[in-house]
């Protein structure tokens, strides 16, 4: 078992954790986004990378977690508990919905998963009495100065990322990961070999929701204001799979490498090309599809083997 990637990850983790003591609040914010997107990417990797089902539900889980967490927090529940409940609610939702939409494959599954995002967004807008509708929802702001708050959320996101990472390692090495890989290559053959494909797919889908829900809830508390279009953002739901594709789907470290590269690239583009930033992102995606079909990690692996 090659230790190097694990050591690199540990160093990266420690570096991010040390940012508050090394740099300004701007960098603390960047570090928080790095952790956040790494967790989202690792989550998607379960259903999209290992199982090979093209899911675009990330925003559905993120938004559901955000609204659940925000509403529970506003109702008086302690922040940490609100986040945990949001994660549970999102996971149950994924398991129940998964039962229905995981029966479809390929394009139909993709469409179904996008429809989830749209449908939830519309529900959030329609239930305006509960959620504030299109005007958005204010969340109770955490007491404390900006430095303190910055640190709290950085460590929260890092914590969720670590949990997602450990889960990924366990899945990758265990029976579930092996079974998911079989399903990805040939679902019917996997069935024939004794894999309960329905249960395994639902597990992957639920795992892909757990951390998204937690991240969504934490995000809501962090920015203290959410609205349907931000929380159920189609842009988010499309960016996350691209990050994993960039880094290498179905691997432990691919999502981390891909999300880090993407976030840093986006930050640079934002500052330089504000007006064209969407077009530049689009261009990056197009180039990625044409030139790096296996992700960055595949390129490294090829070089290592040569």
């Amino acid at each position: 078992m090659k230790r190097l990637p694990y050591v690199a990850f540990a160093l990266w983790f420690l570096l991010l954790a040390a940012v508050p003591f090394l740099a300004s609040n701007y960098f603390v914010k960047i570090a928080t986004f790095l952790a956040m997107y790494a967790a989202l990417a690792l989550s998607w990797n379960f259903i999209g990378g290992y199982t090979g089902y093209p899911s675009f539900s990330t925003a559905a889980f993120f938004g559901l977690g955000a609204y659940t967490g925000a509403l529970l927090q506003n109702a008086g529940l302690w922040v940490g508990l609100a986040w945990a409940c949001a994660a549970v609610v999102t996971t149950v939702f994924a398991a129940v919905i998964g039962f229905a939409i995981l029966r479809m494959r390929g394009h139909y599954f993709a469409i179904g998963s996008i429809a989830l995002v749209e449908a939830l967004m519309l529900v959030a807008s329609i239930l305006a009495d509960l959620t504030g509708g299109g005007e958005g929802l204010n969340v109770k702001i955490m007491p404390g100065g900006p430095d303190y708050i910055g640190r709290v959320f950085l460590y929260t996101m890092l914590g969720i990322m670590l949990a997602a990472f450990i889960t990924t390692v366990l899945v990758d090495r265990g029976r579930l990961g092996f079974g998911l890989r079989c399903i990805q290559q040939n679902e019917d053959a996997a069935d024939m070999v004794g894999i309960d494909t329905r249960r395994y797919k639902t597990a992957a889908f639920a795992l892909s929701a757990v951390f998204c829900g937690a991240i969504g809830a934490a995000y809501a508390s962090w920015v203290a204001y959410i609205s349907p279009s931000d929380s159920f953002s189609i842009l988010l739901t499309l960016k996350v799979p691209v990050m994993v594709l960039l880094g290498g789907p179905g691997t432990i470290f691919g999502p981390i490498v891909g999300s880090a590269a993407f976030v840093m690239m986006e930050e640079t583009i934002w500052s330089k090309y504000l007006e064209y930033h969407q077009a530049v992102l689009g261009l990056v995606i197009v180039l990625l599809i044409f030139f790096l079909p296996g992700g960055v990690l595949r390129v490294f692996r090829r070089r290592a083997a040569a």
């Binding site: 093209p54 229905a100 479809m104 394009h107 969407q278 689009g282 990625l288």
Partner: protein, 286 residues
Amino acid sequence: MDYGQVVANGLMIGAVYACIAVGFSLVWGVLNVINMMHGSFIMLGGYLTFFAWLHLKVSPIVSVVPVAAILFVVGYLIQYLMINRVVMQPVLTTLTLTFGLDMILYNFMNLWFTATPRRVVLDLGRLDLGGVILPLDRVVAMGLALLLTGLLYTVMRTSRIGRAIVAVRMDRDAAALMGIRVNKVYAITFGIGALMAGACGALVAVVFPITTSVTGLFLGKAFVICVIGGLGSVPGALVGGLALGLIEAFAGFWFSPQTAILAGFVIMLVLLVVRPTGLVGRRGYE
């Protein structure tokens, strides 16, 4: 407002919806590619029509033809140069590619045209059929939408290229063995998809405000219609479009405009689980 009016509204808008979706459905059914740029193509057609109307005083009804031609060329080139390279790859790849291309298109449309809503105002008066009011601009849009859809149907059934497209849709490899140049068929199909989107964009400009913010809305409707009506078939898109028009009209009447849109998605999700082939179409590719 009585139910007759609701039905009339639903059918009028449904015809335009059908036209919007038929190109999307064709591309999905034949190339197995979900074209995320479809909504933007519609708006592009709308913008071109609007500016022709504003600056050149050209009526949208006339603009349909040149706009359709321009969009066909745009679509053909995009497919031939870019999408063709990934057309056999899994859905995640093709969808992400068209999504990336759409981001580029969207950005430039925003910069050139700005997101301010534009509306072509054709004051043609209205028809009153026993209490049901039919604004004539909508009637004209509906009529043209049905005409375009009918034209496409005829082309698909009678022309050589139409038969070739159907052949490729049924069995790509067999079609290639029959001497059909599959890549060319793909490019033409994608071009037709863009053409229909642009032409309907011209019609949409008469009925809705044109703005980049609604590209996603129209794309979403195209999805729903494909699932309701089935993939790759013109009659399917017609049935799906009219059905969606009616669903939205009734849901909007009973609840609210947002519920109208939600109703479409919920029906789509239910159909995906229960009967993904749609009400009319054959089983699409997975």
